[in-house]
């Protein structure tokens, strides 16, 4: 956790960058009545504090990655942190969350095809000690994806 506190200008900057990650700093500055240098510094600060990432998001289904799966993991309680680290280190995994409820960890896996998913589940995930049970939901269709939540 960070001790850095964001203010309303930071939130406005983030809202604009959620719409267009490449919006010029000058455009943002003009919209908010700030100096371009101020916007540049604030964005750099938000990024270095880990609050904001500006990323090009590629649609997996349009770039040949045909298999996306959401996998819930039940793990041995004492090992949850180490298992989260090991799972996060796998390149096929793009999302890892610790959770309450029916699963201890929820992960999202993106691979080229079902064979690779099988290899991932059988060869990689099962190699990690302490995972007791997994539930795999293969994504047939993305009905909605909107990462620009209100900040």
């Amino acid at each position: 956790m960070t001790g850095f506190v964001i203010d309303e200008f930071d939130r406005e900057i983030i809202r604009l960058l959620q719409q267009d990650g490449r919006m010029p700093f000058l455009t943002i500055a003009n919209q908010l009545g700030l100096a371009e240098g101020t916007v540049r510094r604030r964005v750099a600060k938000l990024r270095s504090e880990g609050l904001l990432k500006i990323v090009g998001i590629a649609d997996p289904f349009k770039v040949g990655l045909q298999t996306v799966a959401i996998v819930g993991l039940k793990v041995e309680r004492g090992r949850i942190e180490s298992i989260a680290r090991e799972v996060s280190a796998l390149t096929e995994v793009r999302y890892v969350a610790l959770s309450t409820g029916n699963y201890d960890l929820v992960i999202e896996v993106v691979v080229s095809n079902n064979d690779e998913l099988l290899t991932f589940l059988v060869d990689k995930l099962s190699e990690i000690p302490g995972i007791n049970n997994t539930g795999t939901s293969i994504v047939l269709k993305v009905a909605k994806e909107d990462l620009a939540w209100d900040v």
């Binding site: 770039v63 890892v96 969350a97 269709k141």
Partner: protein
Amino acid sequence: MRTIQPLALDDLDKKILAYLQEDGRMTFVTLAAQLGVSEGTIRKRVKRLEESGVLKTMGVTDPLKMGLDTVAFIWFKVERHHLEKVIVALKELAAVRYLVVTTGGYDLVAMVVLPNRTQLVTLLNDKLSQIEGIISTETSIVLQIHKQIHEWAPFKSYRETEVSHG
């Protein structure tokens, strides 16, 4: 969802995606220098990737660090003949940020982001209960986001120099 002609990606496209996945604000001049092509070429390629819906550049935050205290995954079992109607109803809920149709033990999985637990209770009890066709739900409340990336393995290898994570 828009229907778009699939775009054939060549090595240059994949290299551009690899860099922009890591840093969405990398300048076209820097990209051009890294990849040994002209700035104009990069500009044209990026435009094409954006227009075909392959690439979208945006600022992404960790909701838990931004004061949005409640992130949850909701797993749905749905009556088959109501599936489309349930999808339409769930998409309309602002709290639902990611919704996928799945095979397996559940028919739909949604990620919801909300300011607090009370609103999650409201969502589960008041809003979801009004949607016809939902048989049951299970909710996993996210305690901590360990990894949230938007770059995937196949493109990483297209970056000549490994860019270190912050």
